[in-house]
């Protein structure tokens, strides 16, 4: 290896001299753990923003769908406006997730195996969403009326999303994603029992709580990573000073 993309930067001699020395074993173990937490924190820093964005999208989006008829006759949102708000919020959440996901993985090159897994997983979202639309169309042809379609579509999409969260958790060994997926499947199955329009309220609150809860949990997790990192960093620094 003769030349990295260093942009011609000269080695910082002082840093090399210092970094070439070992510390005491307990400080080296702390440094090791510290570095891995730091990388995890930097790589996962986007997760809370994605979760909070989806939490708001579900809460407000399904909330708007509920408000079409949920508080009638005192209050009601026009059908077109509610659907527009719902679609815009979901589109924004997809956009934010894509942007932050791509940004977080910049400079990371996956193995061919995991690239294939990721591509198939991504395509499965589209395949599933289109299949549900096709399935719903077929049910309509076979006599599903508008009231039943109001139950079928949100339930089917939420159920599919929940299953996909579980699959994502299994692929990338992320327990929180499995929990979120299980919760999402549960509310998808429970919500239809409340009937129209209350099922939208159940999805709004249930889904909103799921995402916002996971968002808050990931903020707490990242803060604890940072706290442990700064704790061991200061311990390591003081250890280095005492050695010097």
């Amino acid at each position: 290896m003769t030349n990295h993309d260093t942009g011609g930067a000269a080695p910082a001699d002082h840093d090399i001299d210092h970094d070439d020395e070992p510390l005491a074993p307990e400080q080296m173990l702390a440094l090791l753990n510290d570095q891995q937490r730091s990388v995890q924190g930097q790589m996962g820093g986007f997760v809370p923003i994605i979760m909070l964005t989806w939490g708001v999208a579900w809460l407000v989006g399904f909330g708007c769908l509920w408000l079409i008829d949920g508080l009638q006759p005192e209050f009601g949102i026009p059908l077109g406006l509610a659907i527009a708000v719902f679609c815009v919020l979901i589109a924004v959440a997809i956009g934010v997730s894509t942007f932050l996901g791509v940004r977080s993985s910049r400079g990371i090159r996956a193995s061919s195996g995991s690239s294939f897994t990721g591509a198939v997983y991504g395509m499965t979202w589209w395949v599933g969403c289109l299949a549900i639309a096709g399935f719903g169309g077929a049910l309509a042809v076979n006599g599903m009326d508008r009231e039943l379609a109001n139950i079928f579509y949100p339930t089917a999409y939420v159920l599919f999303s929940g299953v996909m969260f579980i699959v994502a958790g299994a692929i990338w060994r992320a327990v929180p994603s499995v929990v979120l997926g299980g919760w999402t499947v549960l509310i998808a199955v429970i919500a239809p029992y409340f009937g129209y329009p209350t099922h939208y309220l159940v999805l709004a609150i249930g889904g909103g709580i799921g995402f916002l809860g996971l968002g808050i949990a990931s903020i707490i997790h990242l803060r604890s990573l940072r706290a442990k990192t700064s704790g061991t960093a200061s311990a390591t620094a003081s250890g280095a000073q005492s050695r010097g």
């Binding site: 910082a12 090791l32 930097q42």
Partner: protein, 98 residues
């Protein structure tokens, strides 16, 4: 600490191997991203990477992103095994099991 691998048993190289070990086998990190994750100067990182490469602990692959050359780095099989052995030795020296 005669038993601790001298290639890894230096602050900078321990940090580099620890960071690379967080990725799955087969995944690699571009030089500028690794530099950002480690908060090291390019020259310093480059120097320590060379020592790790000389020991056969990292795989270095030069590629192109458009017209820009990019160097991707990953732990080699030997490097991953050496890092695991290092952690095990460190823990046995300290008398910890986790």
């Amino acid at each position: 600490m005669a038993d601790l691998d001298p290639v890894i048993h230096a602050q900078a190289r321990l940090r580099i191997t620890a960071a690379l070990a967080t990725r799955e086998p087969g995944e690699s990190i571009a030089f500028p991203r690794l530099q950002e994750l480690l908060d090291m100067t390019a020259g310093n990182l480059s120097t320590h990477l060379r020592k790790l490469e000389d020991a056969g602990y990292i795989d270095v692959e030069k590629s192109h992103k458009g017209r820009t050359p990019v160097t991707y780095l990953s732990l080699s099989k030997t490097g991953r095994r050496a890092f695991e052995d290092y952690m095990e030795t460190l823990r046995s020296v300290l008398g910890t099991t986790s």
